[in-house]
Amino acid sequence: MTIPPGAAKLAVFALGLVPLALLLAQIIRSDFGPDPAQELAGSTGEWSLRLLLATLCLTPLRQLTGKVFFVRIRRMVGLFALFYASLHAFVWLSLLLGFRWHAIGEELLERPYVTVGFASLLILVALGITSPKAMVRRMGRNWKRLHRLVYVAAILAIVHLAWVSRTDFGETVFHGSILALLLGYRLWRRFARTAGQAARR
């Protein structure tokens, strides 16, 4: 059975909106408890990281299964990661910082976890802006170079999470292992390819 690509994409789009729906439902039912600002910062942060890691899974999945579908949805999933990361930063700016603009600079300089999160977000924004097909064509080889930065963004996000965690590093170890696996897979493939080329020569 083949699912039409359009329908599959639509399904992924709907799936990407589920976290937002969950967050909104929780807000409406005031499920976030007495400190919703903090809780919202936490859940939006977690969803950004999950979606970022999900984006990174797609290329290996394509390679392992041979299904083009996985790279077709890559841009969309990546943009969802950007969307939730922006929401996360907005929650921080509005609810935690209360739009005290003068405090932003101080926070960026003095709280390393903010600096690192911000750097990660900047990369995601750059990747988002250059993600349309026209940009891919225009940038040629440079596009691929730029978009490898997604790994840097993910590493920074893990560092950010480790810095946010105070005593229990379970979450950091969990997400960090997934990222390490994905990075390892890429390096292994590259090594295998160059080794293969060398052998053929």
Partner: protein
């Protein structure tokens, strides 16, 4: 949705559980009020006619940990109506006080302590008094509490994570307990230790936790003897829930919340400054003193403002943080000549 400005929220709306307790006390307070308007700050609460300022709502009633507790709670001296043992700021509702907790022995999330502490055992309970005291020993909690009459105090609680609450505690002055056990001249610090119940504390079992249990905290002896330092055994007129540090915990309202150690099993009088858990973990983030100070920022959190809980996304109460959490009059002298930016 009804959106209100913070100023429109009356304390009585936020704490519907504050109820009339003792008719006699009500009449007395009422008479004073009629006599002179000086008591106005306490008016909102006084009008609720409460002797104890607040009681836990009936549907969340707690059972005594052991029968002897009932007698202990039968007579509680109500909080006065003036600072520092009372504040007229709106109380944080009971359900938030008991559902939003940092108690890492039960887990990292704020809801973990209330959700995952069901197996915690508070009876029998004993407290070891050790070190530089004339009467060291291991005492049953009933004996520890016996000579102390319980009283209510309404204190602000400021967490280092930049949120705060107002809580009506039940307990007695720490100084009274310290005097009873007669510390020697060498007792310059007091160290406290939290219980470790591996089987009932999932956080203690977590392989990724880097706290070296048991949790430890400490005070300088003059801080411990300060009139504000309080040992709490209840809140909202009822027994302490596990998540709030049952059966006995420290409350030092001018310091960040992590100094107010929970579920105490050991009080050790020492000559030298004890190690404290957070200070051991990250000395650059958590100092021994941990006095609330809006000017000394923690590496993670700005400290110049605080979110007074409960927050609502549409009417957020963000208030300026005060030096010593507003208790400077009582404690500032303890730190005279000290550089508070260095001794954070």
């Amino acid at each position: 949705m009804l959106v209100k400005k913070p100023a429109d929220i009356q304390p009585s709306e936020i704490t519907p559980e504050s109820v009339y307790r003792r008719r006699r006390e009500f009449l007395r307070t009422g008479a004073t009020l009629l006599g002179g308007g000086a008591l106005l700050p306490g008016l909102a609460l006084a009008q609720q006619g409460d002797a104890l300022k607040a009681a836990a709502p009936a549907d969340l009633a707690r059972t005594p940990p052991a029968p002897w507790w009932e007698g202990k709670f039968a007579a509680i001296e109500p909080a006065p109506s003036s600072e520092p043992f009372f504040t007229s700021e709106a109380l944080t509702p009971y359900r938030d006080v008991i559902r939003y907790n940092n108690f890492y022995e039960f887990g990292m999330n704020k809801s973990d302590p209330s959700n995952r502490s069901g197996d915690f055992r508070v009876d029998p309970w004993s407290v070891e008094i050790a070190g530089e005291v004339a009467r060291p020993g291991r005492y049953h909690l009933e004996d520890i509490l016996k000579p102390h009459a319980l009283e209510e105090r309404v204190y602000r609680l400021r967490c280092v994570e930049a949120w705060s609450m107002v809580i009506p505690w039940i307990g007695f002055p720490l100084a009274d307990l310290i005097k009873r056990f007669e510390p020697t001249g060498n007792a310059r610090y007091v160290e406290f230790e939290t219980v470790v119940q591996r089987d009932s504390m999932p956080g203690v079992r977590s392989p990724f936790s880097i706290i070296d249990w048991p949790y430890r905290e400490g005070l300088r002896i003059d801080e411990a003897m300060n009139e504000l330092s309080f040992l709490a055994v209840g809140l909202y007129g009822s027994y302490l829930p596990a998540q709030n540090g049952a059966p006995i915990r420290l409350v030092v309202p001018w310091k960040y919340g992590f100094k107010s150690i929970k579920s105490i099993v050991r009080i050790h009088f020492r000559k030298t400054q004890p190690n404290t858990s957070w200070n051991d973990l990250q000395a650059n983030e958590y100092g021994f003193y941990a006095n609330v100070n809006p000017e000394v920022h923690h590496p993670r959190w700005r400290q110049d403002t605080e979110r007074r809980l409960p927050q609502n996304l549409f009417s957020r109460r963000v208030i300026p943080t005060r030096l010593f959490n507003g208790y400077g009059e009582q404690v500032a002298h303890l730190y005279q000549g000290m550089d508070l930016a260095r001794h954070y």
